[in-house]
């Protein structure tokens, strides 16, 4: 398996994540796009994002490192878009899944 997520993998991941967001945050599925910013565009608050994180963790068998991401954003080390724009979030999910598979 490649270290870099493929477009196909990301696309599949995006569909699954978009479904989770639509179901969990009660957002029309068609408004969720790869370019959507979860907070700025979709209006997902921190509590709802935890609901989504739980659903993503369960669906993909991973642990989104939310504490580290939050710290990096708060300290200005990483722009929030890197984690909260969905195409970027999906790429990180793919990377976490690949990392877990490599350890197995």
């Amino acid at each position: 398996m490649s270290d870099q997520p493929t477009d196909a993998a990301s696309s599949t991941t995006f569909d699954r994540v978009a479904d989770i967001i639509a179901d969990t945050a009660d957002i029309p599925r068609e408004t969720v796009t790869p370019e959507s910013h979860a907070i700025d565009d979709l209006g997902i608050d921190s509590l709802a994002f935890l609901d989504i994180a739980f659903a993503v963790d369960k669906a993909f068998g991973i642990k989104l490192p939310l504490e580290r991401w939050t710290q990096e954003v708060n300290e200005g080390k990483v722009p929030a878009e890197e984690y909260f724009v969905l195409k970027n979030l999906c790429a990180r999910i793919d990377a976490l899944v690949a990392e877990k598979a490599a350890k197995a």
């Binding site: 935890l50 642990k63 939310l66």
Partner: protein, 162 residues
């Protein structure tokens, strides 16, 4: 239980940190101002306080799991069910198990039983955050008082002897 002080858990009977599981006991008092209104002449423990009881059992489990590094705060209650009336003087066995250990949050499943029969259950979600400085000492004191601290044996590692 001291209902009006939100001290729901009286003692911890078992703690398995490796398995992520806790068993606690809560004794419903014979009298409480809560029963004056819920309900007049027909005292019942409100469902919201049974939920709080499950949340506190879960909270002590998480405090042990996190080794008091973070404080859990209840953020969501899912699938709460109240299956029987609970009146004054009842002994409740309250158990909680760690369902998911997330980053910055945790999920538990909790249940309350009376004489082995299920009274209430729920899935609870917590945000886990650094302790507000003024909160950590009283939480540690209460955990010691109910016997949690004494049961917090180190979790065995793979290299440690069984």
């Amino acid at each position: 239980m001291r209902l009006e002080y939100f001290e729901m858990i009286d003692s911890v009977s078992q703690l398995d940190r490796a398995a992520g599981r806790i068993e606690t006991v809560a004794l419903v008092p014979m009298e409480s101002p809560v029963f004056e209104g819920h309900f007049p002449s027909y005292p019942l423990v409100p469902g919201v306080l049974l939920t709080e009881t499950m949340a506190q059992a879960s909270g002590y489990l998480l405090l042990a799991h996190l080794d008091f590094r973070l404080m859990p705060f209840l953020i969501a209650v899912e699938k709460a069910r109240f299956r029987a009336f609970v009146g004054p003087g009842t002994r409740l066995d309250v158990e909680a198990s760690l369902e998911h250990d997330g980053s910055g949050y945790a999920v538990t499943k909790a249940a309350i039983r009376r004489e082995g029969k299920l009274v209430a259950d729920a899935e609870l979600r917590f945000r886990t955050m650094p302790f507000p400085p003024e909160l950590e000492p009283p939480m540690r004191a209460r955990a010691a008082q109910i016997g949690l601290t004494g049961l917090m044996q180190p979790v065995p590692t793979e290299s440690a002897p069984a």
